[in-house]
């Protein structure tokens, strides 16, 4: 009996052959070492893939996605929903800016001082790291000696959100090769998201766990290494 082509053998493995045809191929392989070897090779490859080791998802992946989607929802809700409101809002904002301009002009001329233009500066990596360290110190009550375990509510939800936004920006600024810092930033991002979720959900248990984990992972110590 003539040998089967490779596609037929693969189709046998993928379970796509009719039972009659599958039997014929199997019978043929009993007496044909070439086809049997081909079958075994493909079977081996299939087994390797089905039992391969996959990278497990990062810790807290689902939580971080939920937090991101929640933020995007909040962003969408902040948009003005009705088209007719937009011109009205634009007019109101324009009027407010005009009034503010007049007021500032008067104020500045009275003070006879130069006007300093405010810009929204991108954070430098160092200033971001220092701010984040301070915020985490405050949040966790970690003294240089030890983690006290007591709670501290002075860190607001807004601070955590602010740090989270900055973490994303800073991650873009860090060189791709600086894997240690990038990995630390990912962890910080994760912790910020957990802080936000626990604050929003009012979950003291989760919040306690987040604090403990920040201490256990030595986030403050590791952050310190990158601060110049």
């Amino acid at each position: 009996m003539a040998c089967f082509d490779e596609q037929t053998i693969i189709r046998l493995l993928t379970g796509e052959l009719e039972s009659g045809q599958a039997d014929a191929v199997l019978r043929h392989m009993e007496s044909c070492s070439r086809c049997a070897e081909l079958y075994n090779r493909y079977n081996h490859i299939g087994n390797m893939i089905s039992t391969r080791e996959m990278l497990s998802p990062p810790r807290g992946l689902a939580r971080s996605i939920i937090a991101s989607v929640s933020r995007s929802k909040a962003g969408n809700n902040a948009l003005l929903p009705l088209p007719w409101i937009r011109p009205a809002a634009a007019f109101a904002i324009g009027a407010a800016l005009f009034a503010a301009g007049l007021h500032t002009g008067r104020f500045v001329s009275r003070m006879n001082a130069p006007v300093t233009r405010q810009t929204t500066a991108q954070p430098s990596v160092n200033s971001y790291l220092v701010n984040t360290q301070m915020m985490l110190l405050e949040y966790t009550n970690i003294t240089p000696q030890q983690y006290t375990g007591s709670t501290n509510d002075t860190v607001s939800l807004e601070t955590a959100m602010h740090i989270l936004e900055k973490t994303r920006v800073v991650r873009e600024l860090v060189e791709p090769d600086d894997r240690e810092l990038r990995s630390l930033l990912t962890e910080i991002e994760h912790f910020m998201e957990e802080i936000i979720i626990s604050r929003q959900g009012g979950s003291e248990e989760l919040e306690g766990r987040v604090r403990r984990e920040i201490a256990e992972q030595q986030i403050l110590l590791r952050l310190g290494r990158f601060i110049s």
Binding site: E6, Q7, I10, T14, E16, R41, Y42, I45, G46, M48, I49, S50, R52, E53, M54, L55, P57, P58, L61, A62, S64, I65, I66, S68, V69, S70, S72, K73, P176, R179, R182, S183, T186
Partner: protein, 178 residues
């Protein structure tokens, strides 16, 4: 699981955030797995997973239920991964073994030379071939579903799978001979 998924999808289509969060919890590992397979980079796969669920959330209203929710979602994940790779083609460098072990302390023992070879062999396949092979063998999806994820017919999905397997055989043949 299938019943629960259907229930959550129906609730999410009607606007339930809670149901959508449950879908995120249930499907994020698989979405991550598709992304990490294509990018070979944990950070990028994480970003792609987020983008996938953003897109799913924005478009859940258009999900008609003609295919399974998972198929619809994995298709988004695949497209997000491909978009990401195209956008970053210049800078894109898949993670190497050193980084894999560095970002996963304790992996050194698990990650054998054998599986390194397999990952390298999979890395030589085209995106479609690799996805077809992994979805078929690792995730156990049927070819019809793989076709829907890759936006092609069932028979084209089979061609990607066959070519992928042939290329793997060729690679391992060389490896065994060399």
């Amino acid at each position: 699981m299938a019943d629960k998924t259907q229930k959550w999808v129906a609730q999410a289509v009607r606007g339930s955030d809670r149901a959508f969060n449950r879908l995120i919890k249930a499907f994020s590992p698989m979405v991550f797995s598709i992304a990490v397979d294509l990018t070979a980079n944990v950070e990028d796969a994480r970003d792609i997973s987020q983008e996938t669920f953003f897109r799913a959330y924005r478009n859940i209203g258009s999900f008609k239920g003609t295919s399974r929710f998972s198929t619809w979602l994995y298709r988004i994940a695949y497209n997000c991964s491909i978009d990401f790779i195209r956008k970053n083609r210049g800078r894109y460098v898949p993670i190497d073994e050193k980084t894999l072990t560095a970002s996963h302390p304790g992996r050194e023992n698990q990650h054998t030379a054998h599986s390194r070879k397999l990952e390298k062999a999979l890395g030589n396949l085209s995106e479609k071939q690799k996805t077809a092979v992994v979805l078929f063998y690792y995730h156990g999806l049927p070819l019809t579903e793989i076709g829907e994820i890759l936006s092609c017919s069932h028979s084209t999905a089979r061609v990607h799978l066959f070519r992928g397997l042939k290329n793997l055989k060729k690679y391992f043949g060389k490896y065994m001979e060399g």
